[in-house]
Symmetry: C2
């Protein structure tokens, strides 16, 4: 297969390197990833600045790699539309350093790179290691799992307007308890901003924040990962709340005194 790999931790991160080393054993791998860390960038695009693309030596046969001065979405978009002269069979984004569970998905550059692949017509998955963000985590078992699982996953077919968001527990392969298809749980962060004063007397803030509560049913990603299961969530780019369409239509379509019509 031809595989395009991206991430949001940057092209020099251990997670992407371990993944690429594993995939390149069996496949032709193309890397288009940010030149530096771009976590929590959401689905951002670079519109107001030019984007640089530099081919770099990844040190592996079968691998062609580009370092991009943009967001994860930029990296995938520019690879598919301007840089690559091949069409990949799949986009794999990751392996992210740390989980992308529940509402993390909204902020995740890793997920956004996969969504960009899907929007451009290529089956796409996002992969994260649930390792508590340690830089020195072992991405090896996760990378092996993805190499083995990828053909089955593509054979299963990915639903329309959807990517698969994979979270892998940070344990050895023999300690992973299985695979579960899940829905997104909720993790509630207590946001806090540290207020500081600079040497010239001006105030500035640092965003901090910690998880204070996870409320999750038995079928959520948040729950199954605790049991050392691999979590696979189908994540759609169609954010319409279809249930609310029914319930709220009459309530919201009140023109009444507002518009002079209908």
């Amino acid at each position: 297969m031809k595989i395009l790999v991206s991430n949001d931790d940057g092209i020099h991160a251990t997670g992407i390197r371990t993944l690429v080393e594993s995939l390149a054993m069996d496949h032709e791998v193309y890397v288009s990833a940010p030149d530096r860390e771009r976590s929590a960038t959401g689905h951002a695009l670079t519109l107001h600045k030019p984007i640089r693309v530099d081919e770099i030596d990844f040190g592996l046969p079968n691998v062609t790699a580009y370092s991009v001065s943009g967001t994860p979405s930029d990296c995938v978009k520019i690879a598919l539309n301007a840089v690559l002269d091949i069409r990949p069979d799949v986009v794999v984004s990751g392996i992210n350093h740390g989980p992308n569970l529940g509402a993390d998905v909204l902020y995740s550059g890793t997920v956004s790179a996969a969504l960009e692949g899907m929007i451009n017509g290529v089956p796409s998955i996002a992969v994260s290691l649930v390792n508590g963000y340690e830089k020195m985590a072992d991405f090896g078992p996760g990378a092996t799992f993805i190499r083995e699982y990828l053909p089955k996953l593509l054979a299963a077919g990915i639903p329309e307007r959807t990517i698969l968001n994979v979270n892998i527990p940070a344990v050895g392969l023999s300690d992973m308890s299985g695979i579960r298809v899940t829905d997104l749980g909720t993790r509630i962060y207590q946001d806090s901003f540290e207020k500081r004063m600079d040497p010239r007397g001006n105030v500035y803030y640092w965003l901090a924040g910690e998880i204070v509560e996870t409320s999750d049913g038995p079928t959520t990603d948040v729950k199954v990962i605790r049991d050392n299961l691999v979590s696979i969530t189908p994540v759609t780019s169609d954010m319409t709340n279809y249930a609310a369409l029914e319930t709220h239509k009459p309530l919201l379509e009140v023109t009444g005194s507002i518009l002079p019509v209908k």
Copy 2:
């Protein structure tokens, strides 16, 4: 009411000023918006840099305004968690210069500011003017519409984990044909990157892109806006594809040769 207003075009944009002027006629308005344009930022957060917040004079009674060196999501998060000593009744993000229809929602800073309000427990809406991005559009009718409609909208109640994404046609109030609750259509962009050479012989790219196709059923935002209807789409932060959970569970939960278990 106490209303928190944000946007992604920046605190000096005409769209937010017209909205604030309209809302301040009846309500106590707080503004927390980016110090400069932050379009297509998606749901990004600023984690690796400090954030500056400067109170500025908006020139209106009833209005307290903060210029923030961050993304739209930062603006709402920091207002609710660090800057405001009141709790707003609603977050209104906009009025955006240009539409946020279909898949635009994924990239939209305007929508992300509203999602951030909702995640922080405040009913939230995003408002965009479908004006073809002209800088000199008349935001007056849209601002009046929102002032009139807002109480009804809050009375109707916004579903859980959901914001309302409002797109308003760029016509006078008497030419708006009504209000429709819609689902997100699709607009397909033909992405193109302009490749250029800098004076030192290095290549760089500009992202361009135009809409080449809109495929949309009669109930989509893309469709109703063409008939000069106001489009209201309930947009959820839960991106789980629930239909795919059913169909793909057996296909994807194949541990088989991959994991030694279950």
